[in-house]
């Protein structure tokens, strides 16, 4: 009897996943971003494309780290030909440096609306456009309803959306498959060489729907992610309570 119950739960979980925005990968092998252990934290052991991701940042250093991490992921999604839209009220991203994260800056289209409302509108329109590799939007505050609209749009179009939220006033639950927080870590150079090393981040998955939240150290070098060490996923539970 307990075996069948377990089976039923397994079956139900498999049915619920697509309803929550995790579409099974259509065909071919799942796209690996090279995130290693971080990808294993998601259901199906792969980074969920075609869904909304939320990033929190509290200070300019974190915002820059988040932009770098997002650009690196977008670069993997764009491959060689894809197009990415970057939407924000004021454009702080320096296009030239995107090349360092594997993104062709000429294939990024920057959109600078005048109001927060227009940012949300532009994001929704962009997320409805099938075929875009990624849409990155600087949205400070977004409520559940508005985020659900975005989530519904990406479920149709299979575009991956990133919401970069800098110093949000409310951090209540919104419709997104994951909540990330990226903070810079001191870089390290081998043999005590002088100078500044490759970008290093502390990547924290604060919330993952049906996955395991966790905290990792990550380095970006030579166009690849390198997961440095993994901390016990259980340790993040307290952290999570503190942030939310």
């Amino acid at each position: 009897m307990p075996v069948t119950k377990h089976d039923i739960i397994q079956q139900l979980q498999r049915e619920i996943l697509p309803l929550e925005g995790y579409k099974p990968i259509a065909q071919g092998k799942p796209l690996s971003l090279g995130l290693g252990a971080i990808e294993a934290a998601f259901p199906n052991q792969c980074f969920p494309t075609g869904s909304m991701h939320e990033f929190l940042a509290m200070c300019p250093e974190e915002a820059a780290a988040t932009a770098g991490f997002t650009a690196a992921i977008a670069g993997k999604l764009m491959e060689k030909i894809g197009v990415c839209l970057w939407i924000g009220r004021k454009m702080e991203v320096f296009p030239r440096s995107l090349a360092e994260f594997g993104v062709g800056p000429e294939r990024v289209i920057f959109i600078t609306p005048n109001t927060e409302l227009q940012v949300a509108w532009a994001m929704e329109e962009a997320l409805k456009c099938e075929g875009l590799a990624a849409v990155v939007g600087h949205i400070r505050d977004i409520d559940l309803t508005a985020s659900r609209r975005l989530q519904l749009a990406v479920e149709q179009s299979r575009v991956t959306g990133f919401m970069l939220r800098y110093q949000p006033r409310q951090t209540g639950p919104i419709a997104a498959v994951a909540r990330w927080r990226i903070a810079p870590l001191p870089s390290r150079l081998e043999d005590g060489l002088p100078g500044v090393g490759f970008p290093r981040w502390q990547v924290e998955l604060q919330k993952v729907r049906n996955g395991r939240p966790g905290k990792w150290s990550l380095e970006w070098s030579a166009g690849k992610f390198h997961v440095l060490l993994q901390q016990a996923p259980t340790a993040t539970q307290e952290q999570k309570r503190k942030v939310v």
Binding site: C59, K90, F94, C129, S187
Partner: protein, 500 residues
């Protein structure tokens, strides 16, 4: 199809305009005057004043002698021209080709237009009726040539519609003045006792040319149709234009949408046949009260996609005020480009910069946010960070140079560098600590300096020595010192960006 021209003669153009503005003047004899060499000369006299014998060119004193109670209105220079231009633009609802016929008339090319009004007579009757309602006394005539239409409008006594091929028959009984001749030629013809055009037609052409000049022969040929005459329409004719006139004035949004769809469909079909797409579309509405309103949309890529263009224009419909009603829709494509049929993509994969899905998305965003808020950047060959980018003009533009990746640049760059306080141990060494917005950062690792000079041929200023620094928490910054260390102005330090 033979050409048909309409000539409209405003008998009292300026005085009618005055009466429309001041209805009290209708029954009163009045004149328009303008000062010429210290005398006030009549330039236009109202019909009651003309009946008393006042003519143009009379001095005001003479006119006052005839009618002591004469009302006087000051004439404005260029008034007639402005009135005619406005009227010609209004006449666009009768034909796309309306031209000014100075000093007091208009010419319309009505070829292929009159059947929409059920024939030539009804066409002219409609014009006369609407002009009368507006308050202008007009005489109109329609003929195969401009010359005959002009002559009949001013001198004809029977019937204003001249049937095709009856120019000569009509002309013979008219006076030579009807040929639009110069005053001295008219005078000479009168002295010779030629009061009708008929004898001119039978005279030897060489004699006519010798005595009266080439102009008379030209005018005769133009009137009879042996020599072509061209109009200069007030509005340039666009190749890509569609118009739709309405039976009843339209004032609802649904009505406008239906009208828009209809003309879009016809225009797009034509464009598609010609292998072209529009880059700019202008949608105009002509209201029955004579006002014209228009909205404009642009596209990033030549398009003849009805649904997409409709969506772009649909958002702008709210800007149109139908007022009492719309009688004519016009859709123009002033900017058209070749649109080669795109190679069909076998699989619907990721989109490229050339993809129509992307350009249609950008059109929608541009319609709402304005073209300035959509940018794409290409590398510019400058080291100075602010100048190392240039805006791409369109989606197809490729970069000539490569992105410089030799030295890392911050992912977030401040638009204007911000002042920081710094303590640096030794000249040209990276700083030990700096303070930005009240927060103290202790520098643990640093790279630099990287000196970047402002290009003196572009801008004067001090060079910058950039350092990449990392503080103890791992934040990575791009800071610079402007000018040399220990300048008399004191070295100034700035924060310019954050590395990822």
């Amino acid at each position: 199809m033979g050409r048909r021209y309409v000539s409209i003669w405003f008998q009292h153009l300026i005085t009618d305009w005055c009466v429309i503005r001041r209805p009290a003047l209708r029954q009163v004899p009045f004149v328009m005057v303008t000062p010429i060499r210290g005398r006030r000369v009549v330039t236009a006299a109202s019909p009651p004043a003309q009946a008393e014998g006042i003519t143009d060119g009379m001095t005001l004193a003479d006119a006052r002698a005839l009618i002591p109670s004469l009302e006087v209105v000051d004439d404005k220079p260029g008034l007639a021209d402005r009135l005619l231009k406005a009227l010609a633009e209004w006449f666009v609802r009768y034909t796309p080709l309306a031209a000014i016929d100075a000093p007091d008339g208009l010419l319309l090319d009505a070829t292929g237009c009159a059947h929409l009004w059920n024939g030539d007579a009804a066409y002219l009757a409609d014009i006369e009726k609407r002009m009368a309602v507006a308050g202008y006394a007009v005489r109109t005539a329609m003929a195969d040539t401009i010359g005959v239409a002009w002559a009949v409008a001013r001198f004809g006594n029977e019937g204003s519609v001249i049937l095709s091929g009856e120019q000569i028959k009509t002309l013979v009984s008219l006076p030579p003045t009807a040929l639009r001749l110069e005053a001295d030629v008219q005078e000479r013809l009168r002295k010779l006792g030629i009061y009708r055009i008929e004898p001119l037609l039978s005279m030897p052409r060489a004699a006519l040319r010798r005595r009266f000049g080439q102009l008379l022969l030209d005018r005769l040929d133009q009137a009879t149709g042996h020599k072509e005459e061209f109009l200069e329409p007030v509005q340039p004719v666009l190749e890509w234009e569609e118009r739709l006139s309405c039976l009843e004035p339209i004032s609802t949004r649904t009505g406008i949408e239906i009208g828009l769809t209809r003309i879009l469909e016809t225009l797009c079909q034509k464009l598609q046949h010609a292998g072209k797409g529009l880059r700019k579309a202008e949608f105009q509405i002509y209201r029955i009260d004579g006002k014209v309103e228009s909205v404009e949309v642009g596209t990033n890529r030549p398009s003849h996609h009805v649904a997409h263009l409709f969506k772009l224009l649909e958002e702008k419909i709210v800007l149109l005020e139908p007022g009492p009603g719309i009688e004519l829709f016009v859709l123009q494509a002033p900017f058209v480009e070749e649109s080669l049929p795109q190679q069909e993509i076998l699989w619907e994969g990721t989109c490229h910069l050339e993809d129509t899905r992307l350009s249609e998305l950008l059109d929608r965003l541009m319609g709402k946010l304005g073209s300035e808020s959509i940018q794409r950047y290409l590398p510019a060959e400058h080291y100075w960070p602010e100048r190392s980018l240039k805006k791409a003009m369109n989606l197809n533009e490729c970069s000539e140079g490569e992105w410089m990746t030799g030295r890392t640049r911050p992912i977030h760059l401040l638009r204007t560098p911000e002042r920081i306080e710094v303590s640096a141990p030794i000249p040209d060494y990276p700083p030990m600590l700096f303070r930005y917005k009240g927060k103290l950062h202790r520098v643990k690792k640093a790279d630099g300096p990287e000196r970047i000079e402002p290009e003196w041929w572009l801008e004067k200023g001090r060079h910058r020595d950039y350092y990449t620094v990392e503080d103890e928490e791992g934040g990575r910054y791009w800071i610079f010192r402007a000018g040399h260390y220990g300048d008399d102005q004191g070295s100034r330090w700035f924060l310019h960006g954050w590395f990822a």
